[in-house]
Symmetry: C2
Subunit: 354 residues, 2 copies
Amino acid sequence: MGERRGKYPTIKDVARLANTSTATVSYVLSGNTDRLISLELRDRVLDAAEELHYTKSAVASSLRVNRRGLVFLLIPQFSNIYFTRACESLEDVIIANDFLPMICDTREDPERERKLIENAVAQRADGIILGPTSSGWKNTAILRKLNIPYVVVGREISPDKDSQEDNEAYFVGDDSYQAGFLAGQCFARNGHRRIGVIEWNGTVSSAMDRSMGFYEGIRRQLRNGGSLEVESSDVLSTEEGYRLTRELLQRTRPTALFFGYHSYAQGGVRYLAEMGLSVPEDISVIMVGTPAWAQFSSPKYHTIYQSEDWVGSTAGRILMAQLQGEESPLLAKKRYICPCQLIEGNSVKDLTRL
Amino acid sequence: MGERRGKYPTIKDVARLANTSTATVSYVLSGNTDRLISLELRDRVLDAAEELHYTKSAVASSLRVNRRGLVFLLIPQFSNIYFTRACESLEDVIIANDFLPMICDTREDPERERKLIENAVAQRADGIILGPTSSGWKNTAILRKLNIPYVVVGREISPDKDSQEDNEAYFVGDDSYQAGFLAGQCFARNGHRRIGVIEWNGTVSSAMDRSMGFYEGIRRQLRNGGSLEVESSDVLSTEEGYRLTRELLQRTRPTALFFGYHSYAQGGVRYLAEMGLSVPEDISVIMVGTPAWAQFSSPKYHTIYQSEDWVGSTAGRILMAQLQGEESPLLAKKRYICPCQLIEGNSVKDLTRL
DNA sequence: TCAAGCAAGATAAACGTTTACATATTGGAT
DNA sequence: ATCCAATATGTAAACGTTTATCTTGCTTGA
């Protein structure tokens, strides 16, 4: 019962109750050993603090010493396993280094991203991990200006042509080009030549690289005839995946479908089911990303696996190295790219044996 | 280049550059209209602030006025769609009310939960939303003690028998009993009498209520003969779902399986697939929770749908009502329970027509 | 002419910590 | 007796804001 509002007990209250000075209380409560304190007094202080349910105000404390103990993790969506998985290993290293990870989602919205970054600096975050939107470079300008440590994950950001900045950001991610390439190659190996591609035309690096890689992986195969039908959208979501797949299949009927993002695949696969098309008999499927549903379903899908934990822990370690301010070999390199891996399921039909 | 460490420009720097006092700068920058300021000076201040890339320190600011603008969202896991979905609508109402939502995950770990709650109060969070672990009641004691507004979602927490506290927490969640009941009833309607149950024996309310409901839903049916085999675990995870299902099926061979949690179902379904058991021909399945994979797979699974968005937005609105400190009809009630809904797929075989 | 009122701005106290510095009390050693 | 070192504690300044209070120079009405 009773009011909230300035109700927290302060160090002063503790001092009064323990009949001593605030300095002493501070020394006792922060375990600072620079000063000798009699056991008797120490106990009195601890008892008083306990009795009042005293909790140190991190805000007053970090105003004084220049350390917030906060790291912000800004990710584009919770429904994107790539980022939530990376988050988990990130949290582990951040916590292990005695920082508190705070997660916010930008919803793939540049404006929201801008506000969240601004918030992070207003909160005086010690560092920031960013899974960027398409405006990632612009929105991080303030971090570069104020020299706040940050690491970009998953999607690369880079200076606009007109910008004169060249202060490249730390980046940890997967080899998106290779991801596409592996998929294209797999279709090629299995003799597919009429292929549908569902891709995201977000202006982030990963999207474009995936397409490039895919085309390169399948190019040879198509030289002797074949077709590539593409359907794409600005929006990355399950629903949009459904719609794109429908559009594409109403136009043409390929033997194989490549989904550049598993969220698209999720919607697309639903459309296939509703149409009574079975995988891989009627149509083959590969997707980038390895969501649970794709592994535990029948058919089990071919997926391109990206090492989210590696990405997370590496990004975390780089940020920590920056914060510790030591010379770390980790900091010598700016771009960390992890190779992908084709995980075979049974969603690709072998056409070469017909 | 250059050092981090006290590098942020302060209001004092701005004042110096604009050749005025800190008071004026503060008034201008916070848009406080209590004071008249000449246009000329106002512009000088704004220019100076811009030039220095000044950002107000939320930590200094909220030390002074007693308002943090922070709401912590503590959820047990990112892989649990129930909570991530609730999070999204929570964020919306929190942001709409001009607070900044910070998300942390407790990993279903009571100790971690305790620390995170402590952190939240150390950060002087204005309010807390908690998807509790089994120690939820104990860990929130400090919030009650210090009178910090909080709302519990998804799983109910309640005083230990030995505790003398009776200050019931605000709770928003689904009717877990009904969730179980609907599932039991559905099996009963379809004539199943040899049934396997995979349940979580976490000591949170939802777990126990689900089982109770399920038994009640199926009870009648079993009166004329039948069997119920239960397999349960302390740990809630996909892997454990796999293991429990294996244990159960090695012991007995029911016609239907009830998964109390979709994470268990995910692992269980994989085991079924590996054993070559097909759903619903060989075995019927219902699960609580409606993950994407269960909807987009074939077969489409019977699921018990819980209204995560309703839970999220309601919990958010209750917390905001507390923070606004007004009399809100919302605050009159302590427990908000949303009914569940059986979403039919084709994972339950009708045995009555044989 | 002058007090009163007002516009436009400055000064300084306060928020809850941390910590440099000052003080007071001991017990030896000289 | 005197001085010093060691121990144990207190005082107060500082961190970056906000805001109550004070100052100054003008206007203006009687």
